[in-house]
């Protein structure tokens, strides 16, 4: 159980102590403010400033928990388990940092892209929804209360449906995509809340740490077990776990470029985090049903996803849709890392979450820039642009290499770790050798689909009538920030690795339970 020496106690009295709340509150307040001001000109700056503040806060949180321990923050002075608790430890501080960093970097890109793709009268509402979505994602990661997770999940989902539907200005199919996503997302959320209901029925509490204590005390009965099934399937849908991924290609393809960038790098990752939380902290891998579910359901599905989705991606003729399918395959890697159930495996999953977020955001931005200049993401429309848009395409190359996992890019480290994790388990179960071979083989498929893009961009002749020019600076800067970080984290490995490893250790320790946190004082 918890190592008390590691537990940092915090008394929330100064602004610094309110950081966990402010993390969520700042974007949350920005959303109505944008609507109330109603100004098209102020919407973007407000959104950007509040995202930037959220980023700063998340970095500060990260710094205070990166060595272990956690911050418990109680709402309104009601100490948990009665009141709502925000609980920040290395794991969710890491995810918070990813979400707010991507959210901030994407916004300058969105400024140009949104102007091009969305009717101007909708701009302020668009940014308000964006902020709500960010709030939801940050909230579901920061909170330590199971029902609160559901509330934030719904906030982010509902605003996401609206954001996806905004693609209708370009292509009416965005409406059906958003509609399908809405149906699927609602079913997922409903399953999740049904699962929570069962847990509440069996334990009488909704605080995650308290839940963990009680499940550990009373053992698992049928109700608790079925609750697990519902929660895993409900979240699996949000994560786009194979075969629950069917909403994703459509939603990503038809959403406005900026929205796709944002969602691809954050939404599935936040849901994946919640899934990990429930598997490791609320339930515990010591329960045989948890282990069995991971090995019998997650592991094969993850491997099928790695291959099936990669093959589909390899044959796609639309860059954006190809990336969507590649995302499904990459989620497979992360789920595989979780299902391997070791420290290395979890570290790999967490690292891959971050690295894939970076690479995918970068690639989708590249698509956005190409769409801005050519109006389409089909290979036939973007062929030969490597010479006309060298900086954009250069960034795409970096992102593509990281997606493949070429050494020297961030993607290499997580895949290497993943192979390592699979090999570590060969000794006890030789079928993991096949798993590691599967990882390597499916990486070769990534080479195929990424190479197709390179070939289209660089080796085909450009359309002689095309007037495409280099993307505007507002797009190039965020792209190259991400490209730079893909390379930087590929060469300087220790920073991210240490954090991810710390997060993995925290998860494997199980919940720290309610120990000590009762003594953490809430705000008056």
């Amino acid at each position: 159980m918890a190592n008390t020496a590691l537990v940092a106690e915090h008394t929330a009295r100064t602004l610094y102590d309110h950081l966990p709340l402010l993390q969520v509150l700042v974007p949350f307040c920005a959303a109505p403010l944008i609507v109330l001001l109603g100004s098209r000109r102020l919407a973007w700056p407000l959104a950007f400033v509040s995202s930037a503040i959220a980023l700063i806060i998340s970095v500060m949180l990260m710094m205070s928990v990166r060595e272990g321990g956690y911050i418990s923050y109680t709402m309104g002075g009601w100490s948990p388990p009665l009141g709502i608790e925000y609980r920040i430890d290395a794991t969710n501080a890491y995810v918070l940092m990813l979400i707010s960093a991507i959210g901030t970097v994407v916004l300058p890109f969105a400024y140009v892209s949104v102007k091009d793709e969305i009717r101007s009268k909708d701009h302020s509402l668009f940014y308000a929804c964006w902020m709500l979505c960010l709030t939801g994602l940050l909230g579901m990661v920061a909170t330590g209360d199971a029902f609160n997770v559901f509330v934030f999940l719904e906030i982010s989902s509902l605003s996401t449906y609206v954001l996806v539907a905004q693609g209708a200005a370009r292509d009416r199919r965005a409406l059906t995509a958003a509609y399908d996503y809405l149906i699927m997302g609602t079913i997922g959320a409903t399953f999740f809340v049904i699962g929570l209901g069962m847990l509440y029925m069996a334990t009488g509490t909704l605080n995650m740490a308290d839940l963990a204590d009680r499940i550990a005390d009373q053992g698992a009965n049928r109700t608790v077990r079925s609750g697990f099934a519902f929660i895993v399937v409900g979240l699996g849908l949000k994560v786009a776990m194979f075969p629950l991924h069917l909403w994703l290609p459509k939603a990503y393809t038809f959403a406005p470029s900026a929205v796709t960038v944002f969602l691809s790098a954050t939404a599935t990752k936040a849901a994946l985090y919640v899934l990990m939380r429930f598997i490791f902290s609320v339930y515990h891998p010591d329960f045989s049903f948890t282990t069995n579910a991971l090995e019998i359901i997650f592991l094969p599905l993850a491997i099928i996803a790695m291959f099936s989705a990669s093959f589909v991606a390899a044959f796609q003729i639309n860059f954006k849709r190809m990336l969507a399918y590649s995302s499904i395959a990459q989620v497979g890697y992360m789920l595989l890392g979780i299902a391997i159930l070791t420290e290395t495996g979890l570290t790999a999953a967490l690292l891959h979450m971050f690295n894939h977020g970076l690479a995918k955001a970068l690639l989708f931005m590249g698509v956005g820039a190409l769409v801005l200049r050519t109006g389409s993401a089909f290979y036939t429309q973007i062929s030969g642009l490597g010479r006309k848009m060298p900086l954009t395409c250069g960034a795409i190359v970096v992102g593509g290499l990281s997606l493949i996992g070429v050494p020297g890019t961030a993607g290499f480290l997580s895949k290497w770790l993943l192979v390592q994790a699979a090999l570590e388990r060969v000794a006890e179960n030789s079928s993991f050798l096949l798993v590691s071979i599967a990882i390597v083989l499916s990486s070769l498929l990534a080479v195929v689909y990424v190479w197709r893009v390179f070939e289209v961009l660089y080796l085909r002749e450009p359309d002689p009538n095309s007037t495409a020019t280099e993307a505007p600076l507002m797009m190039l800067i965020p792209m190259w920030i991400l490209a730079g970080s893909c390379l930087w984290f590929g060469l300087s490995t220790d920073f991210l690795y240490d954090i991810a490893n710390q997060a993995a250790l925290g998860l494997l320790d199980g919940s720290m339970g309610m120990l000590d946190s009762n003594e953490a004082l809430g705000v008056k």
């Binding site: 699927m184 399937v233 849908l237 290609p249 579910a293 290497w416």
Partner: protein, 569 residues
């Protein structure tokens, strides 16, 4: 002070740095100075550094050794520097940034790989050589060279992937990534061995070599011929010295390309086959694994890089002037390209191991090592292979290019820088042959060996002169068919008459077998891909947009499965 600073930089990075710098320099003198200067600086650095391990870089919990300098790696690094210098000098006229950057990056990667003390940095450089070198093939700019380059790249990258898989397994087995001597036995070491073998062009893994080298640019081939395969020989010598299977692999390597080289018309492809055959000698040396044998391998690699480069240069110079390297279209060029012809003859004499030329003093080390360990049949096979070398490289190349029937072509002499590059190389070939102690002193182990004994010289000359005689007779026959019938029905003659047709029949059978297998493979790959396209392509159900109802069914199914698993465990 400057020297200390220089010693801090891994040698490979010097080359990468230079590759970056020349991007900003104008074509011409300045750029060429950098291209020629950097190999000299690198060689100087390695020469003055002394033995040991330098530049350790922590990476993901491993310590990467970027500079492991011992006598084995030093000789390879030195010859790589020398080859880079000569290759760049030969390419002085070039105004192609891509090729220049690629040449530097390629040389740098090969040197980096030879200096790697661990297998992760080896892997980085291993892939580096693959990626950098393919641009030398693509630079030719023809449709054929594009596809050849693709095939080459796929094989080279595959070799890297197999290497890293082997390294990962090796690490899992032993917990070490150090690049030291290994024993074949586990899957890990077999994978690593296979990866080295692919780069070394083991029999049946060799086709990339004859496919790609003749397809590269004139100057690119000179560069290509020096690095990749010799890097593989180094890796084998480092990792698998004394592995017996290598002796047999090497012998087959030394033998089978002879047949192909004899029937080939494109002279650069002839040289590629002969390169493969020479690698066989080195691989045998690694397989024997004694000090004498490893010395033989290292010195042979050293001399081989020089004379092979010289031959490629001379054929390249001819191609530069005439636009072709086909034996059937060349001939009689000695009239207008006398200097090139002389240099070519020096290269031919070296590769054929004439006494007083470099091949003689290095090949005899390997042969003596084989004899020492009492591998009689292997020794005989290698002697036969030596005769083959003389026939296809030593005679065929210079003879059909510069002598034989007059093609009527009267090209100008090769340009000055090419002559200079060839001249220096030719000088080195002779110098090493005459003063073997210079080369012997930098070999991995101390040498106590004198190549110039009476029996060596006599034996070698016998072999060479009989091979020459054989060629002369066959050639005269081929040229004067009517005279053929007039020759007496000597048993010897009958034997010689059938020999070529038997050989070409064998070659034909091997060739058709190979072609059949590969086209069968190709066919099944195409069939498989189209099936995949049917099941996973853009129009397949897997890529289609599904109606909401169908999606919900998948949720229900998964929930059912999850409940089942969770309840019953």
């Amino acid at each position: 002070m400057m020297l200390d600073l220089l010693h801090q930089i891994p040698t490979a990075f010097l080359f990468f740095l230079a590759a970056g710098v020349i991007l900003f320099l104008p074509h011409g003198l300045m750029r060429n100075t950098v291209m020629l200067g950097i190999p000299i600086i690198a060689a100087f650095q390695v020469w003055t550094l002394g033995m040991g391990e330098f530049v350790l870089i922590p990476f993901f919990g491993f310590d990467l050794e970027f500079m492991r300098l011992d006598r084995l790696s030093r000789i390879f690094v030195l010859i790589f520097c020398l080859a880079a210098f000569l290759g760049n000098l030969f390419a002085w006229h070039l105004r192609d940034t891509i090729q220049q950057v690629a040449a530097l990056a390629y040389a740098g990667s090969a040197i980096g790989a030879a200096l790697s003390g661990d297998m992760i940095s080896l892997f980085f450089y291993w892939e580096g050589t693959a990626i950098a070198s393919v641009f030398l093939i693509w630079a030719r700019g023809t449709e054929g060279s594009y596809w050849t380059g693709m095939r080459y790249l796929i094989i080279q990258i595959t070799s890297g992937v197999i290497l890293i898989a082997g390294v990962a397994l090796f690490y899992a087995d032993t917990g070490s990534i150090a690049f030291e001597k290994m024993e074949l036995g586990s899957l890990a070491t077999w994978l690593i061995f296979l990866s080295f073998g692919m780069k070394c062009a083991f029999p049946l893994l060799h086709n990339w070599l004859q496919d790609s080298y003749p397809a590269a640019t004139i100057t690119g081939t000179v560069i290509l011929s020096a690095f990749t395969t010799k890097l593989a020989v180094y890796a084998l010598a480092r990792g698998f010295a004394g592995t017996e299977i290598l002796i047999y692999i090497g012998t087959i390597m030394a033998l089978f390309p002879i047949f192909f080289a004899e029937i080939e018309n494109d002279l650069r492809r002839v040289l590629a086959y002969s390169l493969n055959n020479q690698l066989g000698f080195m691989v045998v040396g690694v397989g024997i694994g004694t000090e004498l044998a490893l010395n033989g391998t290292a010195s042979h690699a050293f001399a081989h890089i020089l004379y092979k480069a010289l031959l490629f240069m001379s054929v390249g110079a001819v191609m530069y002037r005439t636009g072709t390297s086909k034996a059937s279209e060349l001939g009689g060029l000695y009239r207008t390209m006398p200097k090139t012809a002389i240099f070519c003859l020096v290269g031919a004499a070296s590769i054929s191991a004439f006494p007083l030329f470099s091949g003689f003093i290095t090949k005899s080390l390997t042969l003596s090592a084989v004899a020492h360990e009492h591998y009689t049949y292997i020794w005989l096979a290698l002697v036969f292979a030596s005769a083959g070398v003389l026939s296809h490289s030593g005679i065929k190349i210079p003879f059909f290019t510069f002598f034989a029937h007059d093609s009527g072509k009267r090209p100008a002499e090769a340009p000055l820088h090419m002559l200079l590059a060839m001249g220096i190389t030719a000088f080195l070939c002779i110098f090493i042959g005459v003063f073997p102690n210079f080369l012997y002193s930098i070999l991995p182990f101390d040498v106590d060996y004198d190549p110039y004994t009476m029996e060596h010289i006599a034996g070698q000359l016998q072999l060479l002169f009989f091979a020459l005689l054989a060629f002369a007779i066959i050639y005269r026959r081929g040229l004067h068919p009517p005279e053929l019938r007039a020759v007496n029905l000597d048993t010897d003659v009958i034997y010689r008459k059938f020999m070529p047709s038997v050989l070409s029949y064998i070659a034909f059978v091997i060739f058709s077998l190979f072609k059949g297998t590969s086209s069968l493979l190709k066919f099944s790959v195409i069939k498989f891909t189209s099936k995949l396209h049917h099941s996973h392509g853009p129009d397949s159900p897997r890529a289609a947009s599904w109606p909401a109802g169908a999606m919900v069914i998948s949720i229900a199914a998964l929930l059912g499965l999850a409940l089942f698993v969770i309840f019953f465990s």
